[in-house]
Amino acid sequence: MEVTSPAFKDNARRALGDPQLQKAMGHVRTGFIDKRQQVADALPEFEQLRDSARDIKNHTLEHLDLYLEAYEEKVRGAGGEVHYAETSAEAREHILGICQRAGARIVTKGKSMVAEEIGLNDYLVANGIEPVETDLGEYIIQLRNEPPSHIIAPAVHLTKEQIEVDFRRAHAQLSPERDLSEPTSLLTEARGVLRERFLAADVGITGANFLVAETGTSVIVTNEGNGDLTQILPKVHIVIATIEKITPTLDDVSQILRVLARSATGQEMSVYTTFSTGPRRAEDPDGPREYHVVILDNGRSSMLGSKFHDMLRCIRCGACMNHCPVYQEVGGHSYGWVYPGPMGAVLTPSLVGIDAAGHLPNASTFCGRCESVCPMRIPLPKMMRHWREDEFERHLSPATTRWGLGFWAFFAKHSRIYRLGARLAIRILGKLGSGKGRFKKLLFAGGWTRHRDFPAPEGKTFQELWAERDRKS
């Protein structure tokens, strides 16, 4: 997927002026946030479970190589095949190879952010294979040739009117007189169209929320059941997942599951949580005949032990972006790649480079709401700050910013000069502002006064007045 993160500011400006997007984002504010609070309040053990989930992931990462070995052995023991890929390109090639050997023409896909990350769909198309997204939101954006704007609700940026237009265009074989004004009718139509594709698919590709080392099992979590139809109907099931999805045991998975759905959609449990181990057995009358797991690194192994190690605990729930005041205003596409919001701000520079993705960790007020709701207690603002440190060291921040900060730091380090300079500047500003009490325009403060007035200072500094008070007493 093309990286447009350098254009973040332009993307954001367009997003802010887009009434349909703004209307759609209103649902994020009210839907996800309130529901999460309710289910969190309804479970007395919620905070302990967050701690438990964090500890499980930390333990796993410390022993990732060994759990990965154990996992692989179990998968092979169950009749599955494991393919390792260091890079996106290698992962794509593995998947294409499996599809070609299966003579695949149609591939159904469960929702997978990793598949987006490696640009799988375009690659399959270029090689004569048709990928069909089956998650309703993913299907809709596939029709629009758009990337997802949220990691669990990919079409959250769209209104039902927009979806109706897309369905009429894409499902031209259906009667033009049909009523598609209500979400139910849109859903029914998608169900019918996609049911045919599910049954026709030669290969099904899913991601994995967890890869369980104890049993060699891949776990997917959906509400629609599309992931299940993707993985049990075709002859071949391919799981694409990155190394940090490894989780030691089924009990560990259950711990994390308890905070996953609650944090993501405010449900206590997603409708379908499915544990798959290998291809069909002798006693199975249904299920895939081949089961492949493509395990991708793509930079994760280098994040281990680094300043960004904690990011590997992410379980892709989306709570951070739901609660982020910046994401709520600009939506996911503004971030310019696969992963938006706070988790995207931390992860994207690791994957595409800080040069391209520099805006993302900078466009944050560090309000900390993301960290406060992250089920895995990931210190997102701290890692965004680490990216800013990298940028500063490499002189990637704009010159005016460096200059302004350097100017301020000089005064901050030299208190006497600061006090003298401040007395003068504040005296002047105070006099200039004494008429109205505020400025509509102010030199050097154009960024501020574009949208708000600038309050005038009282006219003397506190230090000045305190010294006067001292002299009096």
Binding site: E329, L405, K413, P457
Partner: protein, 257 residues
């Protein structure tokens, strides 16, 4: 000069650059409240800024240099108090993380951090103040500044003290704990996004019907006051310390008397 009373703790007041430059009244309100709570107050002259702008911009060198100055100037006090959640958070939560590779300063920063408090939390949690014995007629609404709330747990304390103010009614706004869009340099680096967030905040403020907005951070207050005024919404803004200290004879932020 105040008499040094052995039984009374001495507080080093960290004024904060915004209070020092723009609204000394907040500093004097803080002094009054801290003295009322039975402490001596001193204001070290060698203070300028907590170093947050450098720290949050990734300039670790300057952040550390400023931190060393602040620690050296304040570490001898019994307590260090700042009328700002974000500055207090910088001193208390972030300073100790700056010196991981320097054992001496790590120790000094930790010892220093233990004594740092945001103003309202200092009054309630450390000094046990429950009643400020003052009055303020009218309905106010209160914004929870992010750092104070999430780094320092300041939430119930301002509300408890406001409750003790005679004549004051508190009308809670929707999403009081959601960011106002200031974010330090964020508001000038990403002004359009900051503005959108601020507009959401001013809408929530206006919906309360309150005549006055209060908060514990001057940066947030200047941001919200500036936006309210640009939108011609007639809600006044003050620092919560001004109301608690009964020092409201100066005009609200950005207004003339």
């Amino acid at each position: 000069m105040a008499e040094n009373n052995d039984r009374q703790p001495t507080v080093g007041l960290f004024v904060t650059c915004l209070v020092d430059l723009f609204r000394p009244t907040v500093g004097f309100s803080a002094v009054k409240l801290i003295e009322q709570a039975g402490c001596n107050v001193e204001v070290p002259r060698a203070q300028t800024c907590c170093g947050q702008p450098a720290y949050n911009s990734g300039d670790q060198r300057n952040a550390k240099a400023i931190a060393r100055q602040v620690i050296a100037a304040f570490e001898s006090f019994d307590y260090i108090v700042a009328p700002s959640g974000s500055c207090a958070g910088m001193l208390k939560v972030h300073y100790p993380t700056l010196f991981a590779d320097d054992a001496e300063w790590q120790a000094r920063a930790s010892a220093f951090a233990d004594k740092v408090n945001e103003l309202i939390s200092f009054l309630c949690d450390i000094r046990g103040v429950t009643d400020v014995e003052t009055e303020f007629e009218g309905t106010v609404t209160y914004h929870d500044s992010c750092a104070g709330l999430r780094e320092l747990g300041v939430e119930s304390q301002p509300r408890a003290l406001l409750k003790s103010v005679a004549g004051l009614t508190l009308a809670e706004m929707k999403d009081a704990d959601v960011c106002c869009g200031f974010g330090g340099t964020f508001c000038v680096k990403y002004p359009d996004i900051s503005n959108a967030i601020a507009e959401r905040k001013t809408a929530d403020i206006a919906a309360t019907g309150a005549a006055t907005l209060l908060a514990g951070d001057l940066g947030c207050l200047m941001n919200m006051a500036g936006k309210l005024q640009r939108q011609n919404v007639s809600v006044s803004a003050r620092h919560v310390a001004e109301v608690l200290a009964g020092m409201t004879d100066v005009p609200p932020i950005g207004e003339v008397s």
